[in-house]
């Protein structure tokens, strides 16, 4: 029987053998014809030719035979499908359960895969994107990985043989006038070749040409797609409009198509010649004035490492040609493929999510297989009857497979719909990790992936129950539902596997959730509530030198005087904000560097005197700034505890002096403040606070207001204040410190939530499966329970018997899951914060949850077992 079944499968999957057999069969016929001809007196040669003639076109015969194979296959298939649909419609509950479970499994996988596909698999949306790289200068021995380029550096690198193009860029905030309100726009200042090197064609108008980037050329702008949509409602007639920026007219010449926010999310693009900052003679001609980043296109015939070696020569020649302008230690030039630059941060999280959804799908397969096994039990007589009427085992198995594939097709379609609905949320999550997130769509590859998954799922949960059916179908007519050991084993194994996988998923979710809780409960070292933050970027052309400091003083006094304001202060940035602190080397007085010693580094934080009071960062010793600090030549700084610990662990740092310019000027340490975290998940670095007055003019500042008033009220007052100072000056990015903190928690929180949802899904499916298996087990033993109780066994004894059976599965599953989790959780270490991948508390907690859920799931069938009426059960014997 089994041999025949295998032969049938062969006919489906191994056409090659079938074809060879057909050849042999027809050849035999022709040979016989020839032999007949010989016996009638022809020579063998004549006989063969005559036979071939008589036989006719062999290929045509073969084609007809193949048609016979195929038409029959489709006929049976159509019959199976009709029959399958009918039988599934008879059991809507079952069908719904399977399609629903599967939709969740497929939906989760397809949605996550869409993002993986858009971010990690798809080509960059640039022309020939794999030749693009980000170029950085580094001083490896000083631990500096990113020294910006001066305009002259860029010109030198453009001469490199390995690079076909170099794009220069930097980001500025400018104020755009000509719309209803003055608008602060994030501006990418780029060399004119930016769009051509990346291969971006404009949606409307044109992009930059070389003449736009000549000194004195009329200023032009290209709008980013997002800004065009947001501020101009997608109106194409914006091309040609003129706005005032930096005291001169700027003409919009084009609009970008949607593109990844790289180098960053910006509103407008401007050629370097139009940037007043970049085109000033000072910036353009001094090698020490480093302000730009660089994207390069590596020549097609040069690989990345070779190009780096070549660029190292350029760097070396720069250092030796201009010793005063470049660091004396080694300077390297490094290339990072643009693709890595865009996706490296998202990769681990996305892969973890994909692995998670794969596990969920395995549970879904196991659970549906279990449902199907149970269904077969119910249909045993039906199958037996059909077998008796002449349907072979192969046909019955094919029927079951067809039903499985029908279910899978419905589940797959529903899953795809689910993926489509949930994709937006997933994309906005991925957007926190990579600028490519918006490229995630359901494309052909995702469709193929879903199709493959659907077929895999259908075959998996279709074949497992088929394996559980008995060889001798006919005998089940006599004793349907008795000898079910084999099937019970299949079901038990499935449930154990489900428990094991659920356990691993719950552990992963538990670990990440604990990390998020730790992050949430973390004391960042400053006040989080009742603080409103905002940003003010001054107009470069309007405010210069002394006018800048004057503006900030006016603004600060205005803020403090507003009703409801307890304290107000400004800073270069503030904790948890995305703007990074300026990092620099420094030396200590009377502490010269030993030969070969690398100068220590510190983060520099510019602050107004009220800063520590406003943000609630406690002073540990000494004093904070006063209004007179930093005015004149007496320079002072405040350091944080971390810096004290590192450099003055045993002595009082107050009164000691440090220098950030190799000893040209010295600043005295006047106070030590408590550490504040700049990023939640990162331990506080060494920080030095410098008074604004001492630092020199700053065009962009962040301001903090400590107030009990509702943020919108405060915001209105502050905007009104700004109008009285300078009506053309915007103040924006109002956020409470609590929101800022929430945003910095968003990515880990979403990752943990997604893992949590998937794990919960797995737990529910598993619990339902467990309840089903135990209920079936109880059904099989109704009579046994009746006898036990008739012989005096208490009902609680029956309950505990059932529970023991259920717990047994769970304990085996837990043991396997535990081993798996210990191996696998190290892969999610990148998502964890202050939690070990083998965190005992999580493992214990998850085990407890798992056992509790298992007991609850078994309790339902256990109570039914206890409710068995001994008399009824015995009578049924």
């Amino acid at each position: 029987m089994l041999r025949r079944w295998r032969a049938r499968l062969t006919s489906l999957f191994r056409r090659g053998r079938l074809e060879r057999e057909l050849d042999a069969e027809l050849q035999f016929h022709i040979d016989m014809l020839a032999a007949q001809n010989v016996s009638q007196g022809m020579t063998p040669d004549e006989a063969r030719r005559a036979a071939l003639r008589a036989f006719g076109a062999v290929d045509m015969v073969k084609t007809d035979v193949r048609d016979a194979w195929m038409s029959r296959f489709f006929e049976v298939f159509a019959q199976d499908v009709r029959y399958g649909v009918r039988s599934l419609r008879r059991t809507p509950g079952f069908t719904l359960a399977v399609v629903g479970t599967m939709a969740l499994g497929i939906g989760a996988n397809s949605a996550v895969f869409s993002v993986v596909n858009g971010v990690l698999l798809r080509q960059l949306p640039y022309a020939d994107g794999d030749r693009l790289a980000v170029m950085r200068q580094a001083r490896p021995f000083a631990g500096i990985r990113d020294i910006s380029f001066s305009a002259l550096d860029i010109a030198d690198y453009r001469r490199s043989r390995s690079l076909s193009d170099v794009v220069e860029y930097h980001n500025m905030w400018f104020i755009l006038l000509g719309r209803n309100e003055p608008e602060r726009v994030s501006t990418e200042v780029v060399s004119a070749n930016f769009f051509d090197v990346l291969g971006i064609r404009p949606l409307y108008g044109r992009t930059f040409v070389a003449s736009d980037d000549r000194p004195g050329a009329p200023a032009v702008l290209v709008l980013s797609h997002a800004y065009w949509q947001r501020s101009f409602g997608g109106d194409p007639t914006v091309v040609g409009r003129v706005f005032r920026m930096n005291d001169r007219p700027h003409t919009v010449i084009g609009v970008m198509p949607p593109m990844p926010d790289y180098p960053q999310a910006v509103d407008v693009y401007m050629p370097t010649a139009a940037c007043p900052f970049r085109s000033s003679p000072h910036m353009a001609n001094d090698r020490a004035m480093r302000m730009s980043g660089a994207i390069v296109r590596v020549r097609n015939d040069v690989d990345l490492r070779k190009a780096e070696a070549d660029l190292a020569l350029t760097a070396g020649s720069l250092v030796s040609a201009y010793p005063t302008k470049y660091p004396t230690d080694t300077m390297e030039t490094r290339l990072t493929p643009l693709k890595d630059e865009l996706t490296a941060r998202a990769r681990p999280t996305l892969l973890i999510l994909l692995a998670t959804t794969t596990f969920v799908l395995l549970i879904v397969c196991a659970s549906i297989a279990n449902l199907l096994v149970a269904r077969i039990v119910g249909r045993e007589r039906e199958f037996a009857l059909r077998a008796a009427l002449g349907a072979g085992r192969a046909r019955l198995i094919r029927q079951m497979l067809t039903e499985s594939l029908l279910l899978a097709a419905a589940g797959g379609a529903a899953g795809l719909a689910l993926a489509d609905v949930s994709l937006d949320g997933l994309v906005s999550f991925a957007g926190r990790l990579t600028p490519r997130a918006a490229e995630a769509t359901i494309d052909v590859r995702v469709l193929l992936f879903t199709l493959g998954l659907t077929i895999f799922t259908g075959l998996t949960f279709g074949i497992i129950p088929a394996l559980g059916t008995r060889r001798d179908t006919a005998s089940s007519l006599k004793d349907a539902g008795r000898s079910t050991e084999r099937r019970h084993f299949v079901r038990s194994s499935l449930i154990v596997a489900q428990v094991a996988i659920s356990f691993m998923l719950l552990i992963a979710a538990g670990l990440t959730l604990r990390s998020v809780f730790k992050l949430q409960e973390l004391d960042p070292g400053f006040r989080v509530d009742n603080i409103l933050t905002m940003r003010v970027a001054l107009n470069f052309t309007k405010y210069q030198d002394a006018k800048i400091g004057q503006f900030w003083r006016t603004f600060e006094h205005g803020l403090v005087a507003l009703p409801g304001v307890i304290d107000a202060a400004g800073g270069g940035t503030f904790p948890l904000n995305s703007t990074k602190l300026f990092n620099t080397t420094f030396v200590r007085e009377n502490h010269p560097l030993a030969p070969g010693e690398i100068a220590p580094r510190v983060d520099v934080h510019v602050a107004t005197p009220g800063y520590f009071r406003t943000i609630g960062q406690p002073l540990v010793e000494g004093r904070t700034f006063t209004d007179t600090d930093g005015v004149g030549d007496r320079e002072v700084v405040v350091i944080n505890q971390s810096m004290k610990r590192h450099f003055w662990p045993d002595v009082d740092p107050l009164g000691r002096r440090i220098s950030g310019d190799d000893g040209k000027t010295w600043a005295t340490i006047i106070g030590v403040v408590q550490d504040a975290r700049q990023q939640l998940a990162t331990a506080p670095a060494d920080q030095v606070y410098v008074p604004l007055a001492e630092n020199g003019p700053m065009l962009t500042m962040n301001w903090l207001v400590h107030t009990n008033l509702p943020p919108p009220v405060m915001e209105r007052q502050i905007k009104a204040l700004m109008r009285t100072i300078d009506p053309d000056q915007p103040v924006d990015e109002f956020r409470t410190m609590d929101e800022v903190r929430g945003e910095s928690l968003q990515a880990p929180r979403t990752a943990a939530t997604l893992l949590g949802i998937f794990a919960l899904l797995a737990l529910i499916i598993t619990a339902a499966g467990l309840a089903g298996v135990i209920a079936y087990w109880v059904n099989q033993r109704t009579q046994e329970f009746g006898v036990r109780m008739a012989l005096g066994a208490p009902r609680t004894g029956v309950v505990s018997l059932v529970l023991r059976q259920g717990v047994q599965f769970v304990v085996i599953g837990l043991a396997i899951g535990l081993a798996g989790a210990l191996v696998l959780t190290r892969w999610i270490a990148s998502l964890l914060f202050e939690v070990q991948p083998t965190d005992a508390l999580t493992f214990l907690g998850v085990s407890a949850v798992m056992l509790t859920v298992a007991v609850l799931a078994c309790l339902i069938p256990a109570r039914r077992a206890a409710a068995v009426d001994p008399i009824v059960a015995l009578r049924a014997l």
């Binding site: 057999e21 057909l22 042999a24 069969e25 027809l26 035999f28 016929h29 040979d31 016989m32 014809l33 032999a35 036989f55 006719g56 076109a57 045509m60 015969v61 007809d64 035979v65 048609d67 016979a68 194979w69 038409s71 029959r72 296959f73 002449g390 072979g392």
Partner: protein, 108 residues
């Protein structure tokens, strides 16, 4: 020699099944046997014979096995299945009914 007739599709199936009632036989043998029994009136075209055999096999009315032919060569032998036998009985009855009816009409 009277002209040879081609055989209608459904009739060919019936003839094949009937031929196989005597026992397993390969395609060549079947065509020879039909020709022989019909005293050369019915000519079995290979172009219809093999597709028909494979169709019957797919329908489960005949099954095939490789075996040694009378001249000691490997040949594919077809034989009736249980379904095939039943089908043959049904079709034979049907054929008799129709051919009697046709004969009556023509005689009438």
């Amino acid at each position: 020699m009277p002209p040879k007739s081609d055989i209608l599709q459904g009739t060919l199936d019936l003839l094949i099944l009937r031929t196989l009632q005597r026992g397993p036989m390969h395609g060549w043998g079947i065509s020879q046997r039909i020709q022989q029994l019909s005293e050369d009136v019915l000519q079995v075209n290979q172009g219809s014979l093999y597709p028909a055999l494979h169709r019957l096999e797919q329908q489960g009315l005949v099954e095939a096995e490789w075996g040694s032919s009378e001249n000691n060569r490997q040949a594919k032998f077809y034989q009736l299945t249980r379904d095939g036998r039943k089908h043959l009985a049904d079709e034979t009855r049907n054929w008799e009914r129709i051919s009697t009816a046709v004969a009556r009409v023509i005689a009438g």
